[in-house]
Structures are given as C-alpha cells and as structure tokens.
Symmetry: C2
Subunit: 509 residues, 2 copies
C-alpha cells in the first residue's frame, strides 16, 4: 500500500480542527449546565450555534470527501483493525452520513429539536401531551427524512440508519432477537421476586445522607475505582452526564438527594465508568477514530458495569461499607452491609426509566425500541402514541401510568431528535454483564479484589480489551473478541437470576 502522506495529513488535520472546535462548544455547554448565570443563555446559544456550524462546515467540505475516497482505496489492503484503516473508514463513514444531509435540513432539525425540547418541557409540566403533539410530529417527520436520505441505495431501513448513528453496524433484526431472549426471563424473574419470601428494607436508603458527606464520599469512591482526577473533574447538575473537553480533560456530573443515597453514589459510579472509558482512549489519537469511543452501547456497557456489576455487588460493599459508615455517621449505625446491599438491589416495577432497578430497566427500553420503530415506519401515529405507551406498560410491567407526565412524556430523547438511541442502553446492559463474566473468568476472583478495594485489575482489563481499541472494531466485534462469543442475553440473565435469587431467596430454575 502507498498512502498519500499529504492527503493523510490533511484529512487528519481537518478532523482534529473540527474536534478542537467541537470540544470548545462542549466546554461552553458544560459551563451552561454547571452554573452559568441565568442571563447568559441567549448569548451562549449564539456562541454554541456559531461553533457547531463551523464544525459542520469543516466536516462536510467536498474536498475532504474526495480525499477520503482516495485514501479509502489506498488503505483497502490493510487489516481493517489497523489504526490507519480505522481512521479512514471512520472519517469517511461520518462524511458519507453528513454530506447526504442538505444544510437546510440540518438547520430545520436544529430548530425543530430546540422547539421540541421546549414543547416537551411545557407539556410535561402541564401533563398535557397535546402541547407536544405537533412538534413531536415534526421531529419524527424530519428524522424519517434523514433516515430515508441516508438509507437510499443501501439495504438498511430508515430506522436502522438512525440507529446506526449511535450504534454503528447494529441491525434491527439481531437486536430484536436478543431483546426477545431477554424479555421472557425478565418477566419471569420479576414475578418470582414479587412473591419472594424475603424483601429488602428500602427505608435504609431514605435516611439522612447530607449532600456534603455524599459529595466527599462519591469523590472518594470515584477515585478508588480508577477515575483520574488529574485528568478530569466531578461536578453537580440537574441531569447528570459525562463530557470530554480534551485528551486529558473529562468531566463527569452527578446529582445528590439528601434523603436518597443511590442516585448520587451509583450515579457517580455510572458517570465515572463513562469517564474511565474516555480516559482510557489513546491520547495520541484524540480527535480521530482510533482515539474515539466505539459506540453508545459500548460506552453504556462501561458505565453500567461500574454502577451495577461493581457498585451493586456484595464484595464492593465489603470494602465500601465501613467507609460509608464513617462518612455518613451516625446514619448507618444500626445497619448491616447485607441489609444495605439488599436495599440497593431492590426490584420493584415502576413507571420511570431512570429510577428503574436492574431487572425492570430493560423492559422500559424494549417498549421504547418498539414504539420508535413504528413511529418512523409510519405504522404508529403520534396521536396514538400515549395509548400505545400505556398499553405496553400495563402488558410488560403490570402498571398503567396514571398520567402522561409519568408515561410517554418522561424522557427528553424524542423531543431532541434522539430516535434510535434508546436500544443502546440495553446493548450496554447486555455487554456489561458479558464483559464482566469474561473479565472474572480471566482475572480469577474479582470479589476478593473488590473486598480489599482493589479495582485496578478490572480497569486494566477493560482498558486493554475495550478502551484502547477505540473505533478499530465495531461494538459487536469488540464484544466477540473480548468475551469469545457474540453479544447475547445469556450473561445478563444468569447474573440477575443468580444475584437476585440469592437475595430474595426464591427457587432458581
């Protein structure tokens, strides 16, 4: 292979320039969500949209596309997992998506989703879906057009191309199969738990957990599990997230509730999981595909693994409990590590996805995955969405939302144009369990390590198998290579049956 060095340098420089401006815009948005003065909003919107438009212009320059086309032929003989091949493939993939979308459409979507989020917010407050109806219809139509334009000439459906933006190369049919394999066992498990002889004492988690103490304890735990505070920071916001502002500047955000321990602590572990993935990417490839996260599903696998497989494990609490007791004294004085661990693993069907436990969470996702496919292919009308939502909740979770605010209006995603995004949450859950199984099989007794506060072997295993691979492989291939088998529901089902069966003391099949 002879790679045209000049073209290679040009496309890499352009991609890095776009990333530099994107991270500038992301810094402004981080600031907006961590305490920007109220009055700053309008001007901040001007600044961010100016920068985003610049990024789009740089990324869709026709000359850029031509060079990528030529380089693409030149790297054809390389191993597709090679950094050079991955770079050209990833940049070309993004260019091919972006450049099929006329600027006018991109602008209409930007406006429609800003308006969509405002209408959604108003509708949720007023508990009145009709206030959201028109703007959701507009968003659905625009995203359908995006899907159609990108799908043109390919074998994919419009919905599948939307999904592809978040989870490259994922296919609807195989997700459908996996999700079906998961749904049955989950419904059965929830049924067994409902009738189980042993139930946890949830009130342990609703005691006095001062925000100041939570702040300190969360920071301590994030640092202990491996989040690097020299290359990141932890802040507070109303809707937690993780954002990367440079190769050594990853910001995670959480929120604390002084009468509810899990949201702050497990929320921090969740975001720290995202953050450690970002911190584990290869710095020298920052802004290019080999140094970028693979997919949202893989990203979520990292956050869920640290939140659930670690943060909700008995061995983690063998180490953490004494620290927690000291941090929150005297709140935990008459509590045992077993009691706290059981409470943190309570399973209880509920209406709100973000508050759902590990067993019911994926049922929330499967419902959304089904509904959003039907919205895009036109078999479900926006007018019929609330009824369809409520029916699905009654069928799958056994509870019917008393109002749309607690039902179809609970998530911001669709209003923001994020259609095809929800399934990545369940992909992440499946992958987290399967990756953890493989790590435990390779590394020996992880529980022993956790019980003495040693999380480094697990972090290093993930770094090697996942983080450092960037976009050199697809998510599917990463999981296959790290675990020796294709992604499936098996690990998650076995993990939940085992842990919850022990806690609730029901017969396992």
């Amino acid at each position: 292979m002879t790679l045209d060095q000049k073209k290679w340098n040009t496309v890499c420089d352009k991609a890095r320039e776009a990333m530099l401006l994107q991270t500038v815009a992301d810094t402004l948005e981080w600031d907006e969500r961590t305490g920007m003065p109220r009055g700053g909003g309008d001007y901040r919107a001007d600044q961010v949209s100016y920068l985003r438009a610049m990024v789009h212009r740089i990324r869709t320059e026709p000359a850029h596309g031509e060079m990528l086309q030529q380089l693409s032929e030149q790297v054809g003989e390389l191993d597709p997992q090679d950094d050079l091949a991955a770079t050209v493939r990833g940049l070309r993939r993004n260019f091919m998506r972006d450049h099929r979308l006329p600027e006018a459409l991109v602008e209409r979507i930007a406006r429609a989703t800003v308006k969509g989020q405002q209408c959604w917010d108003a509708a949720r407050r007023a508990d009145d879906f009709s206030l959201f109806r028109d703007s959701l219809s507009e968003v659905v139509e625009l995203k359908r057009e995006v899907g159609q334009r990108i799908a043109e000439g390919s074998e994919k459906s419009p919905y599948e191309t939307l999904l592809d933006e978040y989870e490259p190369d994922a296919r609807v049919e195989s997700l459908q199969t996996m999700f079906n394999d998961l749904r049955g066992p989950l419904v059965q498990l929830i049924e067994q738990i409902r009738e189980a002889p042993q139930q946890p004492d949830r009130s342990l988690l609703q005691r006095d957990y001062s925000v100041a103490a939570q702040r300190e304890f969360s920071r301590f735990v994030a640092s202990a599990i491996g989040f690097d505070f020299d290359r990141g920071r932890l802040d507070e916001t109303s809707h937690p997230f993780c954002t990367t502002l440079g190769p050594s500047d990853c910001r995670i955000l959480t929120r604390y509730d002084a009468r509810w321990l899990p949201s702050g602590l497990l929320g921090t572990m969740h975001e720290a999981g995202h953050g450690m993935y970002e911190q584990g990417l290869r710095r020298e490839w920052f802004g290019l595909p080999p140094g970028s996260y693979c997919s949202l599903g893989i990203h979520e696998s990292q956050s869920r693994l640290w939140e659930n497989q670690v943060g909700r494990s008995r061995s983690f609490w063998s180490w953490a409990f004494d620290h927690a007791k000291k941090a929150f004294a005297p709140t935990l004085d008459n509590v045992t590590a077993n009691g706290l661990h059981f409470a943190i693993n309570q399973v209880q069907p509920s209406l709100i996805r973000v508050e759902a436990d590990e067993a019911t969470y994926n049922l929330h996702i499967i419902i959304r995955f089904d509904l959003e496919q039907r919205l895009i292919d036109g078999t479900l009308l926006v007018d019929d969405l609330p009824d369809a939502w409520n029916l699905a909740y009654e069928r799958d979770l056994g509870i019917r939302p008393p109002s749309d605010a607690n039902g179809v209006l609970q998530d911001v995603h669709w209003s923001a144009g994020l259609i095809g995004y929800f399934p990545t949450y369940t992909i992440g859950n499946l992958a987290s369990a399967q990756l953890f199984d493989a790590a435990a099989a390779e590394l020996g007794d992880l529980d022993l390590a956790f019980a003495r506060g040693d999380f480094l072997p697990l972090q290093q295993w993930l770094r090697e198998k996942i983080h450092r691979r960037g976009q050199c492989e697809s998510g599917e291939s990463l999981v296959q290579n790290a675990t020796g088998r294709p992604l499936s529901a098996d690990s998650l089902v076995a993990y939940l049956r085992n842990k919850l069966g022990n806690l609730y003391r029901f017969e396992m099949p």
Copy 2:
C-alpha cells in the same frame, strides 16, 4: 451625513463576530483558572490560541480597514460623543494599531510572553533574577518594536503608544505631573502616620474567619452593593480577576484566607466594582465601542471606589458590622465597629504592591511607571533593573527588599508584555476619589445611605456618568464631565488626609 448602511452593518457584524469568538476564548480561560483538571492545560492552550488567531484575522482584514476609513469620513460631521461616531472611531483605532503589527511580530510576542511568564515564575520561586533576565530582555525589545511601529509618524513616544493601548489618549507628561503632585503629600502622610499617637490593632483581622463563612458573607455584600447575580457569578481562584463572557454574563473571582479577612472581602468588593461596570454597559452595544469599557484606568476607578471609598468607610461598617458579627460568630464578639474600621485602614509601608494599603499603594506604582519608561527608552538596562528597583524602594518607602522575589520579581505584568499597564492603577485611584467626591456633592449624604445599606444611589450615579457612556468619550473627558474638573491628585490626597488624620489622630496641615 449619509452613512453607508451596508458598510456600517458589515463592520458592526465583523466586530460582533470577533467579540463572540473572544468571549468564547475568555470562557475557556475562566474555566482554566477555576478548576480545569491539571492535565487539560496543553490542549486548552491549543484551543485558546486557535480562537485568538481567528479573532486577530477577523479584526485585521484589509477590507475591514478600508470600510472603516470610508465610514470615518462619513461620520466626521457627527458629535464625537454620538454612538455612531464612537463606534467608527473605536473600531478604526483598534484596526490602525493591530494592522501595523505584522503577524510574525504578533506571534513572536505571543511566544515570548508565554515563555516570559514561565521564566518569571521559575525565577520568583528560585529567587534568582538571572533566570528571568534573558526573556525579560526579549519582551522589552519586542514591546519597544511595537511601540516604535505604532508611534511612527505620530508625535507620541514608543512608551506612550504602549500606554495608549490601556489608557487611550493618556499623555506621559500629564501623568508625570499628577503623579508628582501625589508623591509629596503621600510621603508626608506616611511619615505622620508612623509617628502618630494612635495605632490600630491589626490582629483583629487575623483571627478565625472560616472560608465557608467568608464565602457566604462576601456574596451577601457583593449582592448588597449591587452586583447582579442573575447576570454574573462569583468564584474562587489564586489570582482574582473579573471577566465578561457575554452581555449578561460577568464572572468575578476572589480568594479567601481563613486567617485574614481583608483579602477575601475587600477583594470581592473590588472585583464586584469591576463587575458592576461591565453590567452597567449598554447591552445593545455589546461587542462595539459604545458598549465597551472606556479604559483600564476608568475600570480600576470603579473597583477601587467600591473597595476603598465604600468598603473602607466608617459608614459602610455601620451597616456591615452587625452582619459580619453574625456571619463570623464568635470571632468578632469583643470587637467594635470602630476597631475593625481602624484595622482595615492600617497604613504600613511594605514590599508587596497587592498587599499595600491606600496610602502606600501609589508609591509602588510610581516606581514601576518610572522604571518601565526607562526600560523602553533604553536608559535603563534589564541587567541594572534589580538595583534600580531596590534603590527606589529605599528612597520612597524606606525599606529595601531583602531579595528579588519580594522586589522586582513580585509582579507578572512585564513578563506578560504588559508594559504601560501599571500607571492605570494610579489613574484609577485618583479617579475613584474624584468621582466619589462629585457623587457625594450631588447625592447629598452618602454616609447616611451606606449606614442603612443603601448603595443604589451611588451605583446609579456611576451608571449614568460612567458605565452607560462606554467609549463615547475618553477617560479624561469622562472624569471632566462627571466631576466638573480635570483629573488631579487633589481629591485622593484630601480624602486620605481626612480619613487617616481622624483615625490616627495627627495634626492635619
């Protein structure tokens, strides 16, 4: 006059675009100084220098200069204080400066001042001027070249054109006269105070002032004197400053010392004074000269007025003392308002400018003003600077720095290329006293208002006379129009004699 509307719109849009990018860069620098992770520095420097270069390119486009030239002729018949005239004049003034500097020189200065600050920092830590010598020489040479290029064909000296960047239209000769008028009375005053019968108890300020309590109290005071927290915020940093990130987003920063009350509290009032100036500029002119601060001297007059004429006044403490007593209980239990007020006004010659009291502060500035002129005109060599510094301190303040770290190496300014900047501090001090006199004469008994916590009349007077005028007048003209006479040392001298004479109980001449 017929103003070419299209050209007018173009130059205004360009100026606003440059400001938008400048405020983006300023936001990144604010973030850098308020908790950016250590690892983020390198990439942050890339982001900021990319943005600064864009701003420079936009501001020096030749077409921009031509349009400004044409508009300049068109607004010739307008009142020079008219917004349109001020806009064209201000933008043209900046263009004429910037465009005389070849990009290569701008880049060399950027590199030399980054290196300069690093060498300065190392030299200060090691207390070794020789580590700073070479890079200071380079900065001085480059700034001399800047001064020469801009001065070419004008009646100004190179130093005067450097000063002009910070204090437009200020002349060295008239500053020299004012500073001489100030120096004699200050030296006499300090002598009288040294021998005064009454001395304050400084230890009152060195008690236990918890940072948490200071944080809350400083915020309370900033809000009470008029800083608008809906359009600004207060944070902490190692080197306090004020920065404006948008028309309704002004950030002020302070630092707290748990065993020293004045730095946090009076520092906050100082920065709030800067902030209220920025908040008082006309928002509709943001990014254009009528909505921009007039000069650094005028800016400093606003900060010093709230720090000194208000924050060090007896009537302010009539109101603030009970609040402070509560905020810091029991620290102030056996202290009186008079005792605290006296301690806060202690005069004591010292080596460090930023810790100096109101009487000695300007002597520090006058020394620097003299030295930096001689560095630029070549009559003082960098090698001879430390000796010249020490001699001047011995002569004017009666103390000789025991080491360069506490002498010539104490300020960052010269290393950062800020030559011509120091005199604006004394201009600000003179103007603050003169403006305060005029406000008191017009508004009646300000002390009565302060004693009941009413600072609004003073703020509104400043808003009308100073803030809303932006760059429609020079600093000199602003002071003349607000106070009815040209800027002089009279008000400051009378104010210090009066206040300090009462406190220290010496005979006034």
